[in-house]
């Protein structure tokens, strides 16, 4: 789950898309010209030009009625071949899913002695607190992995079966363009997948609402987080990029030292937050404690927030007597601190920084959080650890400002829209593949494509973005990595300056170009899957995930229809 919520830039995305499509088209034309010269000699380029012209004419004279006719035919075919029965399988699955997801702690234990009962009830509370997540993940996983294979198989086998049974002969001997066949098939399969998704998501929604235990119903929400930037202050109060490293190899979190001036400084941009409507400021945290001594048994490490306005020097400590962290509780509501808009000396400790203790009484007795603390619609929150000798670890996503929660159903719909777009993309890719290879090959092709987009995309991103200070890829690429493994050199070790090293690094440069090229034509399927956000109770703005998902889908649909048109046009449908 990526907490970075960057809105998708349509103009920038469109620019990159144009470049990729242009390069890909140029590559195809060059390869086509080369092959035509080999096969047909000097007549070849003329044939390629004629084919290109015919394809363009095919594309610009598309008839909506014909496309809809083929789409309707495809839809009818799927319905009459009982594809929709997959929904019945889903119903069976959720009918019995409750057996495995209930998570009831044995009632016999609850009926035992007082200590056992208390422990069992605590355990039950813990189980319940993650129930919503379990049910949501179950429904989403079931829907996703039932529909993805169906989308791939339907789209990869539809057109080849039509060609094999020669039904397509009666279609293409009418004034039907190849582009209309491709587009109609894509639309028909997409409609079938959408219908199944709608049915399953509706069933899934009702099932979640009815099955999640009442105690956990409150977790079916969509939190709207506002993340800030993170800096640190060292024990002397001097600002720094990072906190203390407590020796953890995973450097995700930096730590602040208890009972010193060390603090984590979060700066929230509240430009788009409706502050005027808020009576409280809700901060949710997920800090990690690092203990250098046992502390007080049974008590958590304590911390406090300092709401600071650097312009006026107002520093409000909240809560006045600090608060324990609930670092292992799966219930996020336990980690929410509600700060009232009106802060006074009863609920907070208000001070003016930079003034001595003698003049502390000059600090105001009451401040309005949004008027006195928020400056230029920016809120500065400093986190201090209030237990001496203990440390508190924080990363950027560990503290966020919670805007009013949205309805779970809205987040659910967004997740389903993402999944629907993914299915449409798979249908598009599958149909395109089926215009040039047979069903089994197309299935394997799209299956590999999907797995690469889901599992390898991160690796590719890392390969292309992790650079050393000298501008070279960290640890090299394919061949340098193998070389380093065989010679037992780690990523940071400088390799011996030899001809072999130079050759390996040169070859790796080309490997990286190839990786970049492949990456640009493999969609990032992860962006379509909003399950982690939904399951963890987060809302994601439309512009952050749905819009890029839509852009990717359309971005692939257009070139795929063009590619499919040409592939089908070049194919002798009658050829065995």
């Amino acid at each position: 789950m990526d907490f970075e919520q960057t809105s998708y830039g349509v103009a920038a995305g469109f620019g990159s898309w144009l470049i990729i499509v242009a390069v890909f088209a140029a590559f195809c034309i060059v390869v086509g010209l080369g092959l035509s010269l080999l096969v047909a000699g000097l007549k070849g380029p003329g044939m390629v030009a004629e084919m290109l012209f015919r394809g363009v004419r095919d594309l610009v004279t598309i008839s909506c009625r014909r496309v809809l006719a083929i789409a309707t035919l495809t839809f009818r075919e799927c319905v009459r071949r009982k594809t929709l029965w997959i929904c019945a399988v889903f119903i069976l699955l959720i009918m019995f899913g409750h057996w495995f997801l209930g998570g009831n702690v044995e009632t016999a234990t609850i009926g035992g002695d007082a200590a056992d009962t208390a422990a069992a009830m605590a355990q039950q509370r813990e189980v319940d607190s993650s129930a919503a997540k379990r049910y949501v993940v179950f429904v989403m996983t079931a829907i996703k992995w039932m529909l993805i294979p169906v989308a791939v198989i339907l789209s990869c086998w539809g057109l080849p079966a039509d060609i094999k049974e020669r039904s397509l002969h009666t279609v293409v001997t009418k004034p039907t363009r190849r582009s209309e066949v491709v587009l109609g098939r894509i639309m028909g399969f997409s409609a079938v997948m959408t219908l199944m998704l709608l049915a399953m998501s509706l069933l899934g929604y009702v099932w979640i609402q009815r099955s999640v235990p009442e105690r956990a119903q409150a977790q079916l929400i969509a939190r709207v987080p506002v993340y800030g930037t993170l800096n640190f202050k060292d024990r002397n109060g001097v600002e720094t990029d990072r906190g203390i490293n407590v020796g953890d190899i995973w450097e995700f979190r930096s730590f602040v030292e208890g009972m010193t001036n060390s603090r984590a400084v979060y700066l929230f941009d509240l430009e788009n937050a409706p502050l005027e409507d808020l009576e409280t400021l809700r901060l949710e945290y997920n800090f990690e404690a690092f203990r250098t001594h046992k502390g007080v048994m049974g008590e958590n490490v304590r911390f406090s927030f300092h709401l600071v306005n650097p312009a006026t020097g107002v520093d409000v400590k909240f809560p006045r007597n600090s608060t324990p962290i609930f670092e292992f509780s799966p219930d996020p509501e336990k980690r929410v601190v509600e700060i009232p808009r009106k802060l006074n000396n009863r609920n907070a400790d208000i001070r003016l920084t930079g003034v001595s203790d003698e003049t502390a009484q000059e600090a105001p007795e009451e401040v309005d959080l949004f008027d006195a603390i928020v400056s230029n619609r920016r809120l500065r929150v400093e986190v201090a650890c209030d237990d001496g000798g203990q440390y508190l670890g924080m990363a950027r996503p560990d503290l966020f400002f919670r805007l009013p929660d949205r309805s779970f159903s809205v987040a659910y719909v967004k997740t389903m829209v993402g999944l629907g777009l993914m299915l449409i993309l798979l249908v598009t890719l599958g149909t395109t593949a089926s215009t040039f290879v047979k069903g089994p090959v197309a299935t394997l092709l799209i299956g590999s494509y999907l797995l690469t987009g889901l599992l390898m995309r991160g690796l590719m991103d890392e390969q292309l973005t992790r650079y050393r200070e000298d501008g070279k890829p960290l640890g090299g690429s394919l061949f340098e990595s193998v070389h380093r493994i065989l010679t037992q050199n780690n990523q940071m070790t400088a390799l011996e300056d030899s001809t072999m090293t130079r050759v390996i690094q040169k070859v790796d440069e080309w490997v990286l170009v190839w990786v970049a090229a492949v990456r640009s034509i493999i969609p990032d399927f992860r962006i379509f899957d909003g399950t982690p956000y939904l399951a963890n109770g987060f809302d994601v703005p439309w512009s952050v995930r749905t819009l890029p998902a839509l852009a990717i889908t359309i971005g692939f649909l257009v070139p795929c229809v063009i590619l499919g048109t040409y592939c089908l046009q070049m194919r002798e449908l009658e050829a065995k």
Partner: protein
């Protein structure tokens, strides 16, 4: 009416598929109605009945014709009018709501012909239109093809059933091994120039002797005198027609049940 004749594998279907753009020529150029075979616009004026009726078996007759009508960009009203007319023409009113997978071979060929005619084409290409049909179905199909001829449409049909082609075609081409061997009008190609055929009513022995004498007088050799026999097709069609009119009739002709095999 143009017939493409030839034994299996002679290239009849391949020729049609080249004309329709389903296959690409390895050399030369194919033009149909003045346009290249690859140009889909030519299909506006063409109707095609494939060798097997490769239709969508999950559709019924109405849906099938509606679908193909849409491919010609016809409006809903046009499609309905055309659909009703064609279903009546091919005699499938009773089965218009049944899915094609339930159709017999003859019914499938009928709906196949109907889809080929959905656009009221100028040129109709029929690939083995009578293959696999029973004599009754063959007769019906030939009648429907002759109707097309009467409507002034150009029909190109391929077949290896010589009698069918002879019955309906004006011109034929005979292919063998992918090469054109004969091309011309059926009448011209079949007419014998060195023999004369008389067809008369029943002749008495005296009349027959007179005819022979007259021929002998002109030095004409009389090669054969016989009573004409009906074709098996004619007998079959007559039997079926009679059976429709008289459902109880079990055996026709002069053979008794005992002679036919024990009277069972």
């Amino acid at each position: 009416m143009f017939g493409l004749l030839g034994p299996n594998g002679s290239g009849k279907t391949t020729t049609l598929k080249l004309l329709l753009g389903l296959l690409f020529p390895s050399g030369g150029e194919v033009r149909v109605l003045g346009k290249p075979a690859q140009d889909v616009d030519k299909n506006e004026r063409i109707g095609y009945l494939p060798e097997e009726s490769y239709l969508y078996r999950f559709l019924n007759a109405d849906e099938t014709l509606d679908f193909y009508g849409r491919l010609f960009n016809m409006s809903a009203a046009q499609r309905k009018e055309r659909r009703d007319a064609l279903i009546e023409r091919v005699g499938l009113q009773h089965a218009r709501r049944r899915q094609l997978k339930e159709y017999s071979k003859g019914m499938t060929r009928r709906i196949g012909l109907a889809q080929a005619l959905i656009n009221d084409p100028d040129l109709v290409m029929l690939d083995e239109p009578t293959s696999g049909l029973d004599p009754l179905g063959t007769r019906d199909m030939k009648d429907m093809i002759l109707d097309l001829k009467r409507e002034g449409k150009t029909v190109v049909m391929s077949s290896h059933l010589l009698a069918d082609v002879q019955d309906v075609c004006d011109r034929i081409a005979i292919l063998y091994g992918g090469e054109l061997k004969v091309l011309g009008r059926v009448q011209d190609l079949l007419q014998s120039t060195d023999e004369t055929l008389f067809r008369t009513g029943q002749l008495s022995d005296a009349a027959l002797a007179d005819v022979k004498a007259a021929l002998s007088k002109h030095n004409v050799e009389l090669k054969d005198v016989s009573r004409p026999t009906a074709t098996l097709e004619e007998l079959f069609l007559k039997t079926v027609a009679e059976s429709r009119e008289r459902p109880g009739l079990r055996v026709t002709g002069t053979e008794t049940p005992a002679q036919a095999g024990g009277g069972k």
